[in-house]
């Protein structure tokens, strides 16, 4: 049997906010769970995030934002992903995102949004169970 490659995850921080505690904990937990994790660092533009996703050939993108700018930045990221043909990448998000924004963001193609207090195990399981099928 052919050896399957490690799951490749990009953890990205769009926008100007610098609350990276959650993003780093999630990055480390996914890495400890055996995935290949690339963390972008802070203050990435949507263009930079999509470019990194493309270059790194990732299966999954986790977006973290706590500044409240998700309504501006998330749709832009999704639009650029589409433009690059990265429609099979699983995108999830986390941070401080009011409940009433969830359905709108999911419509944009963000598959799941994890709020404060989420166990890292929940996120690991989510990624494993929803991994896009690839050739």
């Amino acid at each position: 049997m052919q050896k399957t490659r490690k799951i490749r995850v990009l953890i990205a921080k769009p926008g100007l906010d610098s609350h990276d505690r959650g993003a780093k904990v999630v990055a480390r937990a996914l890495r400890d769970a055996g995935m290949e994790v690339i963390y972008t660092g802070l203050r990435q533009t949507p263009e930079q995030i999509v470019e990194t996703a493309l270059q790194e050939d990732v299966d999954v993108i986790g977006l973290s934002i706590l500044s409240g700018a998700h309504k501006t930045l998330f749709p832009r990221i999704m639009e650029l992903l589409k433009k690059q043909g990265l429609t099979d990448v699983l995108v999830f998000a986390g941070g401080i995102i009011p409940e009433e924004d969830l359905s709108e963001l999911k419509k944009e193609g963000i598959k799941e949004i994890f709020g404060p207090g989420t166990r890292t195990e929940t996120i690991i399981q989510y990624v494993l169970n929803n991994l896009p099928k690839r050739d």
Binding site: G15, L16, D17, S18, D20, R21, K24, V25, A27, R28, A29, R31, V37, Y39, G41, L42, R43, T45, S67, G68, A69, K71, T72, L73, I96, P98, E99, E100, G115, P116, G117, R119, T120, E121
Partner: protein, 560 residues
């Protein structure tokens, strides 16, 4: 604090108790854990006795309030004279909106202002910069020019109210705008009171809102300290901050040690300017977090004061006792707030605020219960402020000074926190100082490890967080009002800034910016040319851009 004979009696009796009374009880009721530890990983004993304070010398280690080593407080009367300053961090939307919130808070009994700026302002970008799309006025108020600052402080007498500004990279610019508004109000500069956070070092490993590389950033911090020492005697030029270090995931000992080390670095950089330690050290102020473990926090605040006093006396040979005092602002811990059952956050904040008061703070911000969900609404802010007022007026905690002193546990823990912090300080000394430690990623790695450890403990339920990993309920609709910033705020702010750029005297702006550039190239103190530039209505982004061209931009060192 006891004579040897008494201590040996206590020891004998304690051993007897452990062999006779205790085992029967443990047999009937096993202890909840085999080992108890606080967040700093210090083991907590079952019982503390006079044995644990055996070596404590009252006069040397505790002394009296208002005197070296200030363990019991920096003022001789503490809260019997005057309560701590109740200072609520606030800012959102436009200057006009925040001005209204300031006036509301002052009317409700707040005693000092504290400005939260939005991310573009904090990062030194104008409101119309592409990096700021969707962020203008969201997490704080947008201040792009002196015009905005004038509107923000409209009707607030700067000779009566003191103002704290959470600003670091562009601190000199915001301070310059504040000075300019004071000049317009006719307030003499020696009467302007307040604080600029201006602690750039912690940005590289904690708050991470850095613009320039570490060295020029420390230069800017030092410019403000030097300028204030000479011209703004009532201004605290810096608030050396542990809060963000803690929120980024550090434990209490790390918060204490890293903050004091940053303090040491600023003292050194200011001494390098030729100032004497007793000229400026009394104006250095500090900022800590108050987290959940009540006794650990109280011990941390007391240890911080004593350790700083010793450092100032022994390491920097200060002579004036005021150079050795540590005045502090405390904020209850934002990262302990939960999105689940948000009303529970009121209790968390109350316990943390009480620790701050029993720890002897000079100023306090209490978080609002809705902050894990959104910006605080008016009702939530009021409850947070009322929490402080209840502690002040109803709890009795403010009626005597340092009431937990002499507790075997508190004194033992205070000693232990101080010792462990001192070990870190020596380690960073050996590494070659704070900037070297940042460049090696030392602080970053220490914090990332503590943060991950804490999260593992929560995930594995070794640490219970009520409502999150235990005592969960089917959530009802949130009993809170969400504060939303309308998208039109950004549009209006951008339009106003562009109008200003058209209408101001652009020749004057150019001249002021060239002057600033020349000063920066000559490595002069930049406060005077920055004051001149903001008075000509140069924007915040324009001033920062001049400095970006000279100093370059910081590139984040990523440590997971």
């Amino acid at each position: 604090m006891f004579d040897d004979k008494k201590i040996s009696q206590v020891r004998k009796e304690r051993e007897r108790w452990e062999q006779t009374t205790l085992p029967n009880w443990i047999k009937q009721c096993k202890e909840r854990k085999s080992e108890f530890r606080n967040t700093s990983d210090i083991p907590i004993k079952r019982l503390y006795t006079p044995e644990d304070t055996e070596k404590l010398d009252y006069l040397e280690d505790l002394g009296f309030p208002g005197e070296y080593p200030f363990t019991r407080g920096v003022h001789a009367t503490m809260y019997r004279g005057r309560f701590w300053t109740m200072r609520m961090f606030s800012g959102f939307g436009t200057s006009e909106q925040t001005n209204k919130r300031f006036k509301y808070l002052l009317k409700e009994g707040e005693t000092g202002l504290s400005i939260a700026f939005d991310y573009p302002t904090i990062m030194g970008y104008d409101s119309d910069h592409p990096m700021g799309r969707g962020e203008v006025g969201i997490c704080g108020v947008a201040v792009a020019s002196l015009k905005d600052m004038e509107a923000l402080l409209e009707g607030i007498p700067l000779d009566k109210v003191t103002t704290s500004m959470t600003i670091n990279g562009p601190a000199a610019i915001l301070l310059a705008m504040y000075v300019a508004v004071g000049d317009k109000q006719g307030v003499p500069r020696e009467k302007l009171g307040g604080t600029t956070q201006n602690d750039n070092l912690k940005e590289y490993f904690a708050q991470k809102l850095c613009i320039y590389p570490p060295k020029p950033s420390v230069k800017l911090t030092t410019d403000i300290i030097e300028y204030c020492t000479r011209h703004l005697p009532r201004w605290n030029p810096i608030s050396i901050s542990g809060y963000h270090i803690r929120e980024a995931g550090a434990n209490a000992v790390q918060e204490l040690a890293f903050t004091l080390y940053d303090g040491i670095t600023y003292v050194e950089s200011t001494l390098d300017r030729g100032l004497k330690v007793d000229d400026f050290a009394h104006r250095l102020s500090f900022f800590f977090a108050s987290h959940n473990d009540f006794f650990e926090e109280v011990a941390k605040f007391r240890a911080a004061r004593r350790l700083w006093a010793k450092l100032m006396k022994e390491r920097f040979h200060a002579k004036n006792p005021r150079s050795m005092w540590m005045r502090m602002h405390i904020q209850t811990s934002g990262c302990t707030l939960t999105a689940q059952q948000p009303l529970n956050n009121i209790m968390r904040t109350t316990i943390q605020a009480l620790a701050a008061v029993l720890g002897g703070t000079q100023s306090l911000h209490t978080n609002s219960f809705d902050e894990a969900l959104c910006l605080p609404g008016e009702q939530a802010v009021r409850v947070a402020l009322r929490t402080q007022q209840i502690i002040a007026h109803e709890s009795g905690a403010a009626n005597t000074i340092d009431p937990l002193a002499g507790s075997y546990y508190i004194e033992a823990l205070t000693n232990e926190m101080e010792e462990k912090a001192m070990e870190y300080i020596q380690k960073v000394d050996d590494m070659g100082g704070a900037i070297a430690a940042i460049e090696k990623g030392f602080f970053q790695k220490e914090i990332a490890d503590s943060s991950y450890k804490y999260q593992r403990e929560v995930d594995e339920k070794k640490r219970v967080i009520v409502g999150v990993n235990d005592y969960k309920i089917e959530e009802e609709k949130l009993p809170i009002e969400l504060l939303r910033i309308e998208p039109k705020v950004e549009k209006e702010q951008v339009a106003n800034l562009q109008k200003l750029r058209r209408e101001r005297d652009n020749r004057k702006v150019e001249e002021a910016l060239s002057k600033l550039r020349r000063s920066a190239e000559k490595d002069e103190n930049l406060m005077p040319p920055i004051i001149e530039a903001v008075k000509a209505y140069a924007s915040l982004g324009e001033v920062c851009e001049v400095l970006r061209q000279i100093y370059g931009e910081y590139k984040e060192l990523i440590v997971i």
